[in-house]
Symmetry: C2
Amino acid sequence: MVSVAKTQLDPAVENPAVENPAEETEPVKLGRRRDHTRDPDILAAAVDVLAECGYDGMTIDMVATRAKAGKATLYRRWPSKGELVIDAVACMKNADLNLSQLPDTGTLRGDLIAMIKPHSIEDGEKKLRVIAGLMSLLAHSPELAETARVSVVEPRVTAHRFLLRRAVERGEISPSCDIDNLSTVTTAMASMRILFESKTIDREFLISLIDGVILPAAGLSPGTGTGPVAEPPAPAETAVTAR
Amino acid sequence: MVSVAKTQLDPAVENPAVENPAEETEPVKLGRRRDHTRDPDILAAAVDVLAECGYDGMTIDMVATRAKAGKATLYRRWPSKGELVIDAVACMKNADLNLSQLPDTGTLRGDLIAMIKPHSIEDGEKKLRVIAGLMSLLAHSPELAETARVSVVEPRVTAHRFLLRRAVERGEISPSCDIDNLSTVTTAMASMRILFESKTIDREFLISLIDGVILPAAGLSPGTGTGPVAEPPAPAETAVTAR
DNA sequence: TATATACGATACTGTGGAGTTCCGGATCTT
DNA sequence: AAGATCCGGAACTCCACAGTATCGTATATA
């Protein structure tokens, strides 16, 4: 169940101007052309339904109705429910976490706190609910699992890794820190909270993770302000290049 | 879908000797009696199928066949698929993590490492796969969500919390440590790894969590306990016990 | 022995949803 | 204009599965 996604990714099939000489002959283009401006609406509707009902609870009719489209329209664009879902999950990626317009406050704690934004939290919760809804498929569909990971988990972990590496370069924390694990902790703990405990993520929880886990594990003791108040039990031996 | 579980928990309905005077009249007990020694087999079969196929992929026939039982037998004992699943999830709890026969090596690191057992890892992975298979239901069934949490997450977090508290009482780590978050980190990270990354849990990963996250966050530099230390990128100044 | 229930096995019923087809109308090419 | 394809909408087919009923057999009470 659920095989390969290709729609949305191969403009040659849709664009009349492009023709692959060695490809299967795309004979002509006659009649009314497909309105691709509707694709995002349909995919967004699919994401909404996925978040609410999960994969098995979602029906094509639900998606079509919510997108104010006909069922046949959906099947004209995606060959099956599974492929529609794969595209829907993949299109969740966009979001906001652009590689390097991340906060740069000068301290790791400042950066981590600056990443706490209500919009980002809400967005993350919804995406996690989508993942939860199709989690039973992930074990049997490595492709979907990878798509989900890249869309939801990967961007957040990458952002944290970036901030941690910069803190190392800045000399704020030791290079011997376990960057890989530390950059995953917040996402893992937030996932646990949403998926298993049915709680929501709030600012207080995220700050408790920063001050109670990440910063101490990085060798920093949390200060009250934005600045680093390094006061570990053992004196830090690393080169303290205060920015 | 999926309502209340009561089977297995009310011996009065099954035991001929017990009769509730104000209850519904249990008239008599005639004919062949139900063989309750089969219950565990059926529930175990249900857990197996759940782990492999998820809730929606699981059929009653699969469970009956695997348990070498008849479909009617299952419906004689559980009124619906949903209630069977609730009981199956609840019966995963037993396991091994008895409250206080946990390791006591004298050091936090020793205790945490002593908790790493192949059997426990394998058991945890299977249970997580079960949870993954019915995760889309958890959002709509708080009862099932709580049952799952109590069966899978709660015991492990509680065990870690116990070890951390003992380390505080022992004076090994500071009472100001964020015990609640730290006792959840390992389970959260392991869940992330299995559910999102389709990786397995191994000893190396768990030790890297202990030495890279938990102990540093608790204010301990790794190497004070027994056993090998996870290899950090930078030269460790601690006693290098090359295994 | 007569009666009643549990057992595994199998056949049956009912329903919900994936996927298909057809419709009247709109939009494109030639 | 003619023909082809799109659109939203609705009716349709097909099938898998939850749940029920039945059968021959086994095990219980009275």
